[in-house]
Amino acid sequence: MNILEINHMKKAFHGLEVLKDISLTVKEGEVVSIIGPSGSGKSTLLRCATMLEKMDGGDLIYMGEYAAKDEGGKSVYAEKPELKKFHHYFGLVFQNFQLFPHYSVLKNITDAPVSVDKISKKEAYERADRLLKQLGLSDKRDAYPYQLSGGQQQRVSIARALALQPKILFFDEPTSALDPILTSEVLKVIKELAEQKMTMIIVTHEMEFAKELSDRIIFMEEGIIQEQGTPEEIFASENPRIRDFIGKFKS
């Protein structure tokens, strides 16, 4: 089953075409990594997919349902009440975490399930405790974000997203704000999610990591998908731009 389907997504900012024609399908349980130079439109793609930005043209389809449908080259979005439903389908992990500083770790994870999804407090707490255990944060339950390292904050933000039980989780450079040691603890958590068959799209500059856990890698440049394929295919690509790009990130 396709969790996400994007057809001919287009997005411009003040006449600058950032996404030119992006089509992309993600099946249940698939892990897709997006790589590419800075400014190529990777974040914009995730922001359009999660509806933080409105795309100009193309379809956006979750679970076979249209969030936006292309009509005559323009994206027409579903009505507001219906759009709300789509927020159940995806989660997004930000580069700089964006935890709520005035909420404890536990509250960060339980507040949206309780006040948005209206599940019982008891169930939300059980979910949170399971996630905290899984992500190795049980002892940080009552801490506040400022008391945590960057890696711990990022793991809490992953737990916060997972607590809403999304069908697909997007990551926008989840480790670029972290030093190498903290990076590896976050990557380990994402790898475990991949093993549990969580559907994910990950924008990353960690080439070895992308190679190891992705079912598919997408190379983006100048607002288009230049090439996509299995890690083996991408890393063996003859395309000089890809070889050049990957070469820069190999340490």
Binding site: L52, F90, L92, Q98, L99, P101, H102, Y146, A161, L164
Partner: protein, 216 residues
């Protein structure tokens, strides 16, 4: 007139001063938030109207505003002013003025919030109202508390401007006694009163700031 009598007479004025202070705060803090919404409105006309309102309130003397509120109904509409309107006029004048100052403080606080907090909340499915009340406002309050404290301390001293409508708050009474008895004593008592009042305000505001110290 002995010291005890002076104190007693000033005492009733002190209560009225505290009354002006509390009513102004209770009404102008929420009104200021509404005005800041108007000032930040996406509708250009609405935003301009509120901007103009704020600049008038901040750009003209509060004492003048009090006189306009008090005498306006008579001069503009020929309505007879009753004695009981005096207090109402004072509260209206103070609230309209202080709400403008608070609006600008709220606005600076709200605009200083990183956009990422709104986006994180949106992704998690919070409605706009939930986002503002649960995520944004608590952080804004923490950020603006020092500026609010400054305004509140100014308000304590500004209450004395009610003398311009001959309202029998502390300062008006102090002036009357001083003139009648040719003594400085009432002014000394008044100064001590305002000073202690502000010390209390400082203590209370510090408490509130401390209670929000649990996060950064």
């Amino acid at each position: 007139m002995d010291f005890a009598t002076i104190l007693q007479q000033l005492g009733s004025g002190m209560l009225k001063t505290v009354g002006i202070f509390l009513w102004t705060l209770v009404l102008s803090l929420p009104l200021g938030l509404l005005i800041s919404f108007g000032r930040m409105s996406k509708n250009r006309l609405v935003a301009v109207i509120f901007k103009f309102y704020i600049s008038i309130m901040r750009g003209t003397p509060l004492m003048l505003q009090l006189l306009v509120v008090y005498f306006g109904p008579y001069y503009l509409f020929g309505i007879n002013i009753s004695g009981s309107y005096r207090f109402v006029a004072i509260i209206i004048g103070f609230v309209l003025n202080y709400a403008a100052y608070f609006a600008e403080i709220y606005r600076s606080g709200i605009e200083s919030m990183p956009i990422g907090q709104y986006e994180a909340a949106k992704i998690l499915g919070y409605s706009r109202t939930q986002t503002f009340i649960k995520i944004i406002l608590p952080q804004v309050i923490k950020r603006i508390l020092p500026s609010v404290t400054n305004e509140v301390i100014t308000l304590v001293k500004d209450t004395s401007l009610a003398f311009s409508l001959a309202y029998m708050e502390m300062f008006t009474i102090a002036k009357q006694i001083a003139a009648a008895q040719t003594t400085m004593m009432p002014f000394v008592v008044a100064a001590v009163f305002y000073y202690i009042f502000n010390l209390l305000v400082a203590v209370v505001m510090e408490r509130i700031e401390k209670s929000l110290d649990y996060y950064k």
